[in-house]
């Protein structure tokens, strides 16, 4: 065993872990399928609960990466193992960017201004990387909201997802209806693709509740005269300062919360959306017209997570996310020696939790490579 680690996935978890490992003197290669690192975080504007800019969090993670070999735009085609050495084979995706070798330049490239790859040698279409430990940080995808056809995403122009809204916030443009009007009434639908056996997802995606509250406040800031309604089943304000944000949404911004799950919606000739739900607190069916409807899409295991899981034979839970060796005390261990897990590969998780989990994984890998015992057996 030497001191080499391959991190698969360049989202916030992979980046954070790679930085921690490199700072401990380990030889780290990070493989990312997209042409840019940063994952979902690179597309978000501000984070709950304190509305910190996502780009600042990403910049912080990037600062520790000057000794990490970052390879972007590659697909992993195979992983093999001999004794204590893993070999990861890759293929260039599309006309992908090449290798961003040592000396990564902070700050983070925005999607519009990719870091040119010309300074580094472009890897041949097929490459192989070897290491003594693998960290799988392949994360999640957002639930494809089109699958809830009755909610009208992709059918009605004024139905958007929380990710679409976040991109609009990031662009700095005013959020308008598809007709170019200021939305007078806005609805948020919680649990889209979560807690829903009809789409095969029994689990709670956990961060959508607070995202809905955060985005509701942001829209009220943008349009103080608008009415904003959040349709929820439960509001799960699980982490510190989340309940306070919910309180602020009610007290300061007058955001209304209606307990009831959207059954279906339809479109008026003017493009506005009619919602049908039950107001479960009065026990009556409720109909409401909104100018803009935001669907809070949940988490699903990413395509990368599913692919790598098959290659390595990771333990998949019934929800499709990857089970660790033990959720309490060995949550970064995969159950396969030398293979570690970090971040949303193990289920829905916030950015702050991802950072903490990635650091924990890095510590475990460093222990493992120094032959400290990391398992019970």
């Amino acid at each position: 065993m030497d001191n080499t680690v391959i991190v698969i996935g360049g989202g916030i978890s992979g980046l954070t872990a790679a930085g921690m490992l490199a700072q401990q003197g380990l030889d780290v290669t990070l493989l990312e399928k997209e042409n840019e690192t940063g994952g979902h975080l690179a597309r978000w504007d501000r984070l709950f609960p304190d509305r910190k800019k996502a780009s600042e969090v990403l910049d912080f993670a990037m600062e520790g990466l000057n000794k990490v070999k970052i390879v972007t735009g590659v697909a992993i085609t195979g992983i093999s193992r001999q004794d204590h050495e893993f070999t990861v084979s890759t293929n260039l995706r599309d006309s992908g960017y090449g290798m961003q070798d040592a000396g990564y330049q902070s700050p983070v490239p925005s999607p519009q201004s990719p870091v040119p790859s010309t300074q580094s040698p472009v890897p041949s279409p097929q490459s192989q990387y070897t290491a003594s430990a693998l960290l799988v940080a392949t994360g999640f995808d957002l639930f494809e909201a089109r699958k809830k056809e009755e909610y009208g995403y992709g059918i009605y122009n004024n139905v958007i997802t929380s990710a679409d809204l976040e991109e609009q916030f990031k662009s700095g443009r005013k959020v308008l209806t598809s007709e170019g009007k200021t939305p007078g009434r806005i609805g948020f639908i919680h649990c889209v693709g979560s807690r829903d056996e009809k789409v095969g997802n029994l689990y709670c995606s956990k961060i959508c509740c607070v995202t809905g509250v955060k985005q509701a406040i942001e829209l009220k800031e943008m349009f103080p005269e608008s009415e904003v309604f959040n349709f929820y089943m439960d509001l799960r304000m699980f982490d510190r300062h989340f309940e306070e944000l919910y309180y602020e949404a009610q007290q300061k911004w007058g955001v209304s919360f209606i307990r009831g799950r959207l059954s279906e919606c339809s479109e008026n000739p003017d493009g506005s959306i009619i919602l049908k739900t039950e107001d479960t607190l009065t026990g009556k069916p409720l109909k409401m017209t909104v100018d803009l409807l935001v669907l809070l899409s949940g988490f699903v295991p990413s395509g990368g997570t599913r692919g790598i899981s098959k290659m390595l034979g990771l333990q998949e839970g019934t929800d499709g996310f990857i089970n660790s060796a033990d959720q309490h005390s060995q949550n970064n261990l995969s159950g396969i020696e030398g293979v570690f897990l970090a971040g949303a590969i193990k289920g829905p998780i916030s950015v702050s939790e991802s950072v903490a989990d990635a650091r924990a994984a890095a510590a475990q890998i460093a222990c493992y490579l120094s032959s400290f015992k990391v398992t019970n057996d």
Binding site: Q251, F257, D279, L281, T282, P285, K287, T289
Partner: protein, 110 residues
Amino acid sequence: MIDFGYTLTRDRQLDYDRGDFRYLKLVKSLEPSMDLCIGCGSCTATCSAAGFTNFNIRRLHTVIRRGDPESIKAELKKCMFCGKCQLVCPRGVNLRNLILAMNRAIEILG
């Protein structure tokens, strides 16, 4: 006319677009803390009147918010102003004043 035994049933649906929000506006101006309700039902669970009648202060608050205030008029008389609801409210809603505000709204708006 022959009575065929058919009746018309009123639509139970809350049509938010046609709601009557005059009561909400007035009550809210008199007791802004009503916005903080999380619908937990602690108030109704401890209510002295709810033990003997169908008085449900949590529900009354909700129907006003939904623009359907008609049912509160007869209901409010059942409250005995003991104030236990306010003691248990986890969000600190001033429920006694909320009920006074609802009464005031009925006085003004009919």
